[in-house]
Structures are given as structure tokens and as C-alpha cells.
Symmetry: C2
Subunit: 275 residues, 2 copies
């Protein structure tokens, strides 16, 4: 039973939305300003689980988060997809003409740049977190100031949404991992996806040989990413996600790849959230 | 003959260092504040070539730059590796105790966070570009202000380096692409590396089949990265870099993969810069 969950950001952040959708609404949230702090909260047992963004359809993988999961031997026990929508919000009664300054996370400002080209009277200012600005506007009754954040943040902090979905690229799906200190308690029958890591060298065919085994064991590949291993020229770490019909197939692949590849490690076994 | 080159950032930036090391010193630099502007300069023929960071050993691939090269059908004609070293600099005569504020690019500030924990009297402020701050300190004779930038920037803007290599992770290698509007004029005999893109579906074995062909044609894989194709579930684009001994081997692989994979495209054929 999950009682408390560490998230990146404050209430109203996208990680909070994932927590609401994945867990019971009554979990206790531990708000963290960095992903390092999220992991710290998990390993010091301040919480039972943590939520970490892993990749998004615009910017690709968030490699430092893969490194955190790998280095601290955390376990991915679930995944969740969220379509990120940015909204402009301000104190009730304010209109877009009243807004002089908008504060938000640099990534959110970047994604909404085109929208603000049509509102050149608004100055854009970088800030730590999307929802935290909404909180500040609410608490200090800041007139003339806007936030870019989720509709959930507008609801929590009692702000009016002045414009919905103002990001340039309308479809921005982000994949989040639910991580724990120990392996999943999900029943084997419910598991149909896994994230693994292994090393292989530059020698021709070494990766192909491993993918052949996966294919022979009826695994389908949904993601692959090579990363050079620092200080070891021509050696690569591969992060691979696979889906499968039965756990027995994955079990068989594991026993074979363990022999073929160095540093084989299962980062998590869980239920595929993409149908 | 390359006469002018578009770079991201101003003189003294890491892209400028790459330009110096890759090209003749006398090329004319076009300084651009964004990668979009770099590509614009290239396609509007303001310059003959452009330099774009592609990936680094800490953060992984810079996916938006791959998308720019792909979408504008640019050609990678060379690659260059640079070990990024951040240095704290200020007006001559200033010491670290005099420095009250340090301005730099958010990524540089992040990478040097640990160093500044030992100097809590210094306030860190985000700015657009590393070298541009050095330029500003020099021009306005700003006392009490520091920049985090390259040694080249310190030399160009006549600043003193107060601390060398202040980044937390000492080894931060970044790979840059040299891109042009048209294909490389490099002699076929000098080409031993290529960047390709193709699409494959989620069906088991489809990627493995293509990697098998590469392996049969004696290509070695140095990088692979899958990206979901937006609005096409279960279909993936793969960006793959391969090295080879003879161009004929790559030619053979090309003709086979063209038949097997959808959307096969060569992003560039060039000389491997990693020995």
C-alpha cells in the first residue's frame, strides 16, 4: 500500500497529475525541487514510491534520470503517459492585456514562445517550477503577473485560465516511471513490459546478436538508446524497453542475455501503460 | 573552400572552438543565439557551413538538433569531439572574494553547482550564453561580476581565469556535427562513418533484421537511438551511426536497407573523428 510519494515539483505540477492518475488520491505528496532530491527521499525511506519523467516526444530521453535509477539500483514498477498541456493563468478578473510579466520553467517558456510573439507587451521570466509560480500569484495576490502551468494548478491555486494549450507543438506526450526501492509486487501474469540495461562493444554484430535473441524469445522492442560508457572507448551501454505476451518468454530471454552481454540488469518489470 | 560558418553562441563559445579546430582560422563567423537561427543562416546561404552540437556524454543526444538536420535535409559532412571545460573568469586584478555575482548559461551553472557550494557569497544568475557574459564584463568593465566560459573566451575578452575546470564531472565530451546544404565533397576513400535514419515498426525482429544486414555488410554500430513517430503509434524512427572500413561495404548495406526499411535516409557520410 502506497502512502507517500515523492514528486518533482510542487502541488499542481505535471508530476502531481501523474500521481493523481496512477495512485489513490489520498497519497501524501513529498514535493521536491530536483530529481536528485526525489531519489534521496526514496532511498532515505521518506516515501514509498517516487515519480520521475523519463522521456518526452519533443526532447527525447531524460538521460540523467536513467542514470539516477541505474546508479541507485531503483526499480521501475510502473509507467504512465501524460499529454503535457501548458495554460496561461492569472488572478481572477485579470485579462491578458493586464498581464505584464509571465514567470515559468525555462522549458515551458520555450515551448510557448510562439504564443507570446502575439503578445509582445508581456515580458517572459525564467523560474524554478511551473506550479510554484501559480502558488505565489495566489498567495501574494500578484496582479499583472501570469503563470504557465497545468489546469490542476489553476484549480488548486484558484486562478483563471486566460488561454488553454498555448504550447507550439500541440502533442507533447511525456512518459513517467513509478519507481520504488524494491522490486515490483505486481503479479507475474500482469507483467508485460520491462526495462533492461546491458553493455556491448563496438564489434560488429554484438548488438544485433542480442536483439536476435530478444526477437527469438518473442519480445518486441519499444525503445532503444545507446550511451557511450565514459572512459571506456568503443564500449556502449544500451537501455532497451521490451513488451511481451507472457512472462515466461521474458524469463527465457533474460537467462540467455545474461550469458551473452556484460552488465545485464533489469531496471524494472511492469504493466505496459500504452495500449 | 569554406569562407563563412554559422555557430551557436558568440566568439569564445564552445562552437567557436570547434570552428577553430575544424576549419582554417580565417573563416568568417556568423554568431547565432539559437540553433534555429544557425539553420536559417545555412539555408538562406548566409554561410557555407554550420556547426551544431549533437550529443554529450552527460546529457545524451540533443534531439531537437537531429530534427533540424532531418527536417531541413541538411548534410552532415564531418564530426568533431570537444572536452567541455568550464572556467570562472573576471576582470584582471579581481579575486574570487571580490566576485558577488556569476552569470552564465543554465547548463553551465548546473554543471558547476558543486564548486559554488564552497563560495556561498556568490549569487548565480542565468544568462543566454557563456561567452557573451565574458564579452559584457570586458566591454562594461564590470567589477564584482564573473563569467563561466572557455579559456578562449578569457583570451578574447582579456579576462583573468580565477579557477580552471570548475565543472563537477571532469570529463564532459561533446560531439559536434559540421553540416552543409549539399553532400560532402569528401573523397569516397576518406569516408568511414555515416549517420542514417530509418523507420521500423514495433513488430518483433524488424530492427534486429536491419542490424543483421549492417553486421553482414561489416558495419560497426557506434550509436543507436529510437524516437517514437508522433501520431503513429508503435512506429519508430531510428537514428544510427555506423563506421566501416571501405565505402563499398556501406554502399551495399544502403541498397539492402533501402528495400527493407521505410523512410531510409542518409543524413551524412564523413570521416570518423574518433580514433
Amino acid at each position: 500500500m502506497i502512502k507517500s510519494v515523492a514528486i518533482q515539483g510542487v502541488k499542481g505540477s505535471f508530476h502531481h497529475i501523474v500521481s493523481q492518475q496512477f495512485f489513490d488520491e489520498n497519497v501524501n505528496l513529498i514535493e521536491c525541487l530536483t530529481f536528485d532530491r526525489v531519489v534521496e527521499a526514496l532511498i532515505t525511506k521518506e516515501c514509498d514510491a517516487a515519480i520521475m519523467a523519463l522521456e518526452n516526444s519533443i526532447a527525447g530521453s531524460i538521460i540523467p534520470n536513467y542514470a539516477l535509477i541505474d546508479n541507485y539500483n531503483l526499480h521501475v514498477v510502473g509507467e504512465h503517459y501524460l499529454d503535457i498541456q501548458h495554460n496561461l493563468m492569472a488572478l481572477p478578473g485579470q485579462t491578458i492585456i493586464d498581464i505584464k510579466e509571465v514567470y515559468s520553467h525555462p522549458m515551458a517558456l520555450l515551448q510557448c514562445k510562439e504564443f507570446f510573439k502575439n503578445h509582445p507587451h508581456i515580458k517572459l521570466v525564467e523560474d524554478k517550477d511551473t506550479a510554484e509560480v501559480a502558488d505565489r500569484i495566489h498567495k501574494n495576490k500578484l496582479k499583472g503577473v501570469g503563470a504557465i502551468a497545468s489546469v490542476l494548478a489553476a484549480n488548486i491555486f484558484n486562478l483563471d485560465v486566460l488561454a488553454h494549450s498555448i504550447q507550439t507543438i500541440k502533442h507533447n506526450e511525456t512518459r513517467f516511471a513509478i519507481v520504488k526501492r524494491t522490486n515490483s509486487e505486481v503479479a507475474k501474469e500482469a507483467i508485460n513490459k520491462a526495462s533492461v540495461k546491458f553493455e556491448a562493444n563496438h564489434k560488429r554484430g554484438s548488438l544485433a546478436a542480442i536483439l536476435n535473441v530478444m526477437s527469438d524469445c518473442k519480445l518486441s522492442l519499444t525503445k532503444i538508446q545507446s550511451l557511450p560508457i565514459i572512459d571506456t572507448p568503443w564500449k556502449y551501454a544500451f537501455f532497451v524497453d521490451v513488451t511481451f505476451e507472457t512472462y515466461a518468454d521474458f524469463d527465457k530471454a533474460k537467462s540467455l542475455i545474461k550469458i551473452m552481454a556484460e552488465g545485464f540488469k533489469v531496471l524494472g518489470e511492469y504493466k505496459n501503460a500504452k495500449l
